[in-house]
């Protein structure tokens, strides 16, 4: 492009002017840099040289105080107690190995611990304090203090460690803390600097882990000036951290304690839930273990039995376990059918003891049959054929959809680890996951809570609470944080026909209170405390077995779900006894005992029990009274 000489010249004038301007600005900025350099290197030189030569600035993290955990009545479930430890800063120690050996002699540190402390010293950043001995006595602390001049970089520190005063009662709710592992660090995108403090504790499972963000708090820092031997000369700046939040759980520690004691010797799970707010009052899985053992790292002597025990004490059966719900599922099949208008609650079905479908015979548990049964009778006596018939008419899709609305087959959001979603099978599910078409027998099995159908005890408790109230009760485990109440989730109407729900509750009442009901022996006598419920016995193997003749692993699971008081439901309960045999024999009595304990907020009067049971109950109450949490870690090994 050609331009006139004049235009080109005028352009160049503009350019030159602006170039001079920008150049001037650049030189001005450089002048500023020079001034800053002069300020730092000339005016402040003495101070900085002092800092560099005689002193060093160290930054120490102040670990935040972990939030404590309480039960609904303010009883402490997780607390921090002071512990003394000896720490050492590598860069201040001069000869770290020699100094460490001196300390080891002074406080009688074992050679293994000395070696591991040395390894840790080498790994840690040079300016970070490393713990070389933990949980030391006062004597050791004073010995180190007295000999401080010979031990540069070594100092005693008071820290805090987590303690679970309720021991094994809360291992499956509160969980436990442990040291930060490399795996924990790798899992985080941007780990908090505080996690790099050696032996810092973070939540490993359950509430401790799931509520880590709120419990941990924010680390403070202090900038300290230390001299060449590592002695702190003065603190330059301190930024206070923020303590973790205090959590209050919905659990009632007294009730939880009773339930754990009641389950002694079983492999079982119990969930007690408030029907109104969804608060979990007890969430017990037996056997349990003492979480305090894990805090400083568990020894294999303690750990191996927990791993190999066939009662699986490390598993939280209330939420991690998914079991065939057995007959406790029958309410769902019935609700699906009567809400769809396929059958009325009072219509009857004939049970000859089996149902013939496509050339295959599906048996009722009672081979001689129940005759003509309606909803109430079928539930009360747990007739299977009635539900086969309903399921065939309404279809699996509607049954699954109905059970989803009652909280089965979906993952409830609780601050517990590995919450299982259970399974409410559909045709699409089977095609996608099993690569096979749904067959009619699958529907028949599902109708009585067998086959692919799986639910956790927690889900069964939610289902029962929703049946009892007709509202979408949603479980809640955290009651308040720093005294501020957590919101109650869900709780809207379920939108079911009230009359159908009433019939269902009435039928569940009959299961427990009618002379011919399967749980009649576990009824509550007290008039205003009557319980309604349903027993379940779910097969572990596909053949019917006599539970007394087969090994424990092959016996049926015993289940019971219920709510009370019948007239004004307050609590829902779900009980599962792994391989416990029949639901009416193994699960219902536990449900009745724990329900009474909840209803009376403590030990119930024996008058609440049927008169024939009272002397047995008195003995049982005496035995269970104030069992200390850790006296009862009784597992399958003890029984053998």
């Amino acid at each position: 492009m050609r331009r006139s000489r004049a235009e080109s010249d005028s352009n160049h004038t503009v350019l030159s002017r602006r170039a001079a301007l920008l150049g001037g600005a650049q030189l001005l900025f450089m002048g500023g840099l020079a001034a800053r350099m002069r300020y730092l290197q000339v005016d402040q030189a003495d101070q900085f040289r002092l800092l560099a030569e005689e002193n060093r600035i160290n930054i120490r993290l102040i670990p935040p105080i972990r939030g404590e955990i309480f039960d609904r009545n303010g009883m402490q479930l997780a607390q921090n107690v002071p512990s003394y430890r000896i720490v050492m800063v590598r860069e201040d120690a001069g000869e770290p190995e020699e100094v460490l050996l001196r300390v080891a002699r002074l406080i009688n540190l074992t050679p293994e611990k000395t070696q591991s402390a040395l390894d840790e010293l080498k790994r840690a950043q040079r300016f970070l304090p490393v713990t070389i001995a933990e949980d030391v006595s006062w004597d050791a602390v004073s010995a180190v203090s007295v000999n401080a001049p010979a031990l540069p970089g070594v100092s005693p520190e008071v820290g805090s460690t987590r303690v679970y005063p309720r021991g094994s009662d809360f291992a499956h709710v509160v969980g436990r803390v442990g040291r930060v592992s490399q795996k924990d660090l790798d899992a985080l995108e941007d780990p908090d600097a505080v996690l790099r403090i050696p032996r810092f504790q973070i939540g490993k499972i359950n509430v401790e882990a799931r509520e880590e963000a709120r419990l941990r708090g924010v680390a403070g820092t202090k900038q300290v000036e230390v001299n060449a031997t590592g002695r702190v000369m003065r603190e330059l700046e301190r930024r206070e951290g923020k303590a973790g939040a205090a959590l209050q759980l919905t659990i009632d520690a007294k009730l939880q304690n009773y339930v754990q004691a009641r389950l002694m010797g079983e492999s079982a799970a119990v969930v007690i839930m408030d029907c109104e707010k969804g608060d979990l009052l007890a969430n017990s899985s037996a056997p349990s273990y003492d979480p305090n053992l894990f805090i400083g790292g568990i020894s294999s002597k303690d750990y191996d039995p927990l791993l190999t025990d066939k009662y699986r004490p490390l598993v939280n059966k209330t939420v991690q376990g998914a079991y065939p719900p057995g007959s406790t599922f029958k309410m769902m099949t019935a609700m699906a059918a009567i809400e769809a208008g396929i059958i009325g609650p009072d219509d009857t079905v004939h049970c000859p003891g089996h149902l013939e479908i496509g050339g295959r015979r599906f048996h009722c548990w009672k081979r001689s049959g129940h005759g003509w049964v309606d909803l109430e009778t079928s539930l009360k006596r747990s007739c299977d054929v009635y539900y086969y018939d309903l399921a065939l008419k309404v279809g699996i899709e509607k049954i699954s959809a109905m059970s989803n609305r009652f909280g089965l087959g979906l993952r409830h959001d609780l601050a517990l680890s590995s919450v299982n979603s259970g399974l409410t099978p559909t045709k699409a599910w089977k095609r996608d996951n099993r690569g096979a078409d749904w067959v009619i027998g699958d529907t028949v099995n599902a109708s009585i809570g067998q086959g692919f159908m799986l639910a956790s005890p927690l889900q069964l408790a939610v289902m029962t609470a929703r049946l009892a109230t007709g509202r979408e009760v949603t479980p809640r485990l955290i009651k308040s944080v720093n005294g501020i109440e957590e919101p109650i989730k869900g709780n809207g109407a379920l939108d079911m026909t009230e009359n159908n729900l009433r019939k269902m509750r009435r039928s569940m009442y009959a299961v427990v209170n009618d002379r011919r009901g399967t749980a009649y022996r576990s009824r509550i006598i007290a008039k205003d405390m009557r319980m309604a419920g349903k027993t379940g016995t779910s097969q572990v193997r596909s053949v019917v077995v006599n539970n007394n003749e087969v090994p424990w692993e092959q016996r049926d699971h015993a289940l019971f779900v219920g709510f009370a008081p019948y007239d004004d439901p307050k609590y829902a309960v779900a009980v599962l006894v792994e391989h416990g045999g029949g639901g009416s024999k193994a699960a219902a009595p536990i449900a009745r005992d724990v329900m009474l304990q909840a209803l009376y907020d403590g030990e119930p009067p024996v008058e609440a029990y049927p008169s024939g049971d009272r002397s047995r109950i008195r003995n049982q109450q005496r035995r269970l009274r104030d069992v200390q949490p850790d006296a009862r870690i009784k597992t399958s090994k003890d029984q053998a």
């Binding site: 492009m1 160049h12 170039a19 900025f29 450089m30 730092l40 290197q41 700046e237």
Partner: protein
């Protein structure tokens, strides 16, 4: 009487061009690089490896490259400007897909022979392209909105791509260099005033919204900005480095602690002592006198470039020279501000001194363009 009128009346040809190089500039660049070798030798505890030797080899290679680029007529470079810009944008996009992750960010692209950092290249090609654009654009149109929008887009595209890597430091520098070039080209004052006012307004609005229901950023984003602006709020991370850097620098005093005597850098108090924080080591060991000398060398490089540009009647050559000088200025001044605790810690190396091949080669290439502009100026 200008220095120009004394020189030859025609553009030199052939090998004679070597005589017409801007030799003072070559000497200044070599002096700065020499200071770099010295420091790299020192921070390695008195050894040519691992840093000083490779750096010297790369500088030698870069010097040859610079002269080579300088021999090529400036109008050829102008014709290649669009292509160069296009290639670097494509490479930036390539980094998105094939880039290796180094130091937590995607910046490198492995070409087999060398590992290329396209964002380094973009610093130069962006300036080249803008200079060519303003050379082509009739001066009357310079400040018309449409013709202002176009270069703005040219700047924004690579800036965004670099920001995604993520490399905030380099993207801000690209933005500043691009804006500076538009200013030099004579875009009306009002545009800059508006952009600066709007920017200030936006920043104020974002900060004012903090803690209100209509908060524009998430809390953690605000916290990151806090640490960015005030590193002492993160005393274990960036704040620790700045504190140590200031101690090292300040303890140098007037004359420094002597070559290889800097305790702070020696004792590993300093991070990245061979790259971003190399100036601290220099200032600790050679004191205020050493630091100010390096700053003076930098200032002379800038002055020689500006003089060369003003004396050059070719618009493209002049703009290109100024743009490259501005880029160079931005880099060393941001780095120095950072180590002196005046600016947030962004990963910007000290040009010609910090260890690093990609940056040095690209910089010498850029000075090659300045040489070409100088040799082939209209007389």
């Amino acid at each position: 009487m200008s220095y120009l009128e004394h020189s030859v009346k025609s553009v030199p040809t052939g090998l004679r061009k070597v005589l017409f190089l801007n030799w003072p500039l070559v000497l200044l660049i070599s002096a700065v690089a020499g200071a770099g070798f010295l420091m790299l030798y020192s921070v390695a505890g008195g050894g040519y490896s691992p840093w000083a030797e490779p750096q010297m080899k790369r500088f030698a290679l870069g010097l040859v490259l610079m002269i080579g680029v300088g021999m090529v007529p400036i109008w050829m470079w102008r014709n290649l400007a669009g292509l160069a810009y296009g290639i670097s944008v494509i490479l930036l996009i390539g980094v998105e897909f094939f880039g290796a992750v180094g130091m937590g960010a995607q910046r490198w692209i492995d070409l087999g022979v060398i590992r290329l950092q396209p964002s380094e290249l973009t610093k130069i090609t962006l300036v080249m392209f803008l200079a060519a654009y303003y050379d082509w654009l009739p001066a009357k149109k310079t400040s018309r909105p449409l013709w202002v929008l176009l270069p703005v887009l040219v700047i924004i595209v690579p800036t965004m791509l670099v920001l995604r890597q993520p490399d905030l430091g380099t993207s801000i520098l690209l933005l500043a260099a691009g804006g500076g070039l538009m200013f030099l080209a004579g875009v009306h004052w009002a545009y800059f005033a508006t952009v600066i006012a709007a920017g200030a307004g936006l920043v104020t609005a974002v900060f004012q919204s903090r803690g209100t229901p209509w908060q524009m950023l998430k809390d953690y984003q605000f916290r990151r900005i806090d640490t960015f602006i005030d590193p002492s709020s993160d005393p274990l991370g960036a704040g620790y480095h700045i504190t140590q850097s200031k101690i090292a620098l300040g303890s140098g005093g007037w004359t420094g602690r002597g070559f290889m005597q800097g305790t702070q850098s020696r004792l590993n108090f300093l991070p990245e002592k061979h790259t971003d924080f190399i100036f601290t080591t220099l200032a600790e060991e050679f004191g205020f006198i050493g630091g100010i000398s390096l700053l003076a060398l930098y200032a002379l490089i800038i002055i020689f470039c500006i003089v060369s540009a003003i004396l050059n009647k070719d618009r493209f050559a002049s703009l290109l020279t100024l743009g490259i000088a501005l880029n160079f200025f931005l880099f060393f001044s941001v780095n120095m501000s950072m180590v002196m605790g005046l600016a947030p810690v962004v990963g910007v190396p000290l040009p010609l001194v910090s260890y690093g091949g990609s940056a040095m080669l690209v910089l010498l290439l850029a000075f090659g363009l300045v040489q070409s502009a100088h040799i082939h100026r209209p007389r």
